[in-house]
């Protein structure tokens, strides 16, 4: 049996836990997988890969007009120049919010998400309520997040139906003139990069 140092603390194992344990044991015994490599993958998602990467990308785009142009021109290429821990695959497309247009990203068919720059998707993103409603009632979904946009703002929903991955470039909050890139990073939330939220206001951060 494969070793499972990661198992739950409780004494009773759920049916799912047992089933997943059986799956891992069979795959290990067959020589298909190496549990030590699985540990490293999990550790990477728990400690290294997450929305802080996307936040850095957004803050740099706010701070550096040349980088912003490069990002909007070829997302994968521009993000690769930053050399962060997670490697960015092809097909990343950055989409810019403007006063006239707000972008929001969904995957109605499964739960495609830009893992390389945002980490693993939250449960709500993968849930039936979000996947079903985002394309039909995006303003209603935004209301679930406490976001109300002007009635005149165009809402543009991007359904990720292929291997293209979308990163929303939110608008830089006003009152941040002269801020450093590091300071700007604090304003960028995960939801702002999905389009279900807005960046923090300057008075919400230190």
């Amino acid at each position: 049996m494969a070793q499972h140092e990661h198992d739950e603390h409780g004494s009773e194992l759920s049916e799912t836990q047992l089933r997943v344990r059986a799956l891992e044991t069979v795959l290990t015994e067959k020589g298909y997988i190496d549990p030590a490599a699985l540990d490293l993958i999990i550790e990477a998602y728990e400690t290294k890969i997450g929305p802080h990467t996307g936040a850095r990308v957004v803050a740099k785009a706010w701070h550096d007009p040349a980088f912003k142009r490069a990002l909007l021109d070829d997302g994968s290429k521009a993000v690769r120049t930053l050399g962060h821990e997670s490697r960015v695959g092809d097909h990343l497309v950055a989409i810019e919010n403007t006063p006239a247009r707000h972008n929001m990203v969904v995957c109605t068919l499964c739960s495609c998400y830009p893992w390389d720059v945002l980490g693993l998707p939250p449960v709500w993103y993968k849930s039936a309520p979000y996947r079903s409603r985002a394309v039909k009632d995006p303003r209603g979904v935004l209301a679930d997040f406490g976001v109300a946009l002007p009635a005149s703002t165009e809402i543009r929903v991007w359904d990720s139906t292929a291997e293209t991955r979308f990163l929303v470039l939110p608008m830089r909050p006003s009152g941040t003139e002269g801020w450093s890139e590091d300071r700007l990073t604090q304003l960028v939330t995960r939801d702002a990069m999905i389009g279900t939220g807005l960046p923090k206001r300057p008075d919400e951060v230190t």
Partner: protein
């Protein structure tokens, strides 16, 4: 296939409920499932579209009743059995009863970072792109019983080509082991009213990424 996975535009699922300070995984087994999937992908056991198709073929009540990572595990079990990597008695007993099938490579600790890098889906074009940005297109009204990435809500609808993403492996054939079959990929934008009727919010526009075989000129 017209499954429950194709949720765009359905009513009745309720509000979106964000979870404050959500953990990366809600239980350790979720991470194991995710990592196993990555490892089997790296090994070349089956393409990502076959993972999606296996989940789509779960019974609707099973699909809706399962969490995201439970669906992954169920889909993985299905691909393992269907492709001869394991048998049901092995999965049930939690022991390998027969030796494994050869795989192209194995994800070991020294190659984890390569294994976590998303592969490219770009493929050599077989023909020039048929459409360019600004072209009006109508999506086909097709209902294949197998995997497709053309959602039901966007079939038979008039849209405009907005972006051309190059030539990509075609999921519809990849999922059923009929090869890359490279196709041009486009972002196609639709007015809300075109999809949801005259009462739709006039400020809403929706796009899908559509492969060329899904599109006719309009």
């Amino acid at each position: 296939m017209n499954g429950v996975h194709d949720m765009g535009g359905m009513d009745g699922f309720g509000k979106v409920e964000p979870e404050p300070n959500e953990p990366v995984f809600h239980a350790p087994w979720e991470g194991r499932v995710l990592a196993m999937q990555r490892a089997m992908g790296y090994a070349g056991a089956w393409p990502i579209d076959a993972s999606r198709f296996a989940q789509e073929r779960l019974a609707p009540q099973a699909y809706l009743g399962a969490s995201y990572y439970q669906r992954w595990a169920l889909g993985m079990e299905r691909n393992l059995v269907e492709r001869g990597y394991a048998e049901t008695d092995e999965l049930a007993s939690g022991r390998a009863l027969r030796s494994g099938k050869p795989l192209a490579r194995k994800l070991t600790s020294d190659v984890v970072s390569q294994g976590m890098t998303r592969g490219s889906f770009y493929r050599q074009a077989q023909a020039p792109a048929r459409f360019k940005p600004g072209d009006r297109v109508r999506t086909k009204n097709i209902h294949p019983p197998t995997h497709t990435r053309l959602p039901r809500y966007a079939r038979g609808r008039l849209g405009v080509i907005e972006l051309v993403h190059g030539c990509h492996a075609f999921p519809d054939t990849m999922a059923i082991d009929k090869g890359d079959n490279p196709q041009w990929l486009y972002t196609v934008m639709f007015e809300g009213k075109e999809l949801w009727g005259p009462d739709a919010d006039p400020t809403v526009k929706i796009s899908i990424d559509a492969f060329e075989p899904y599109l006719d000129p309009a």
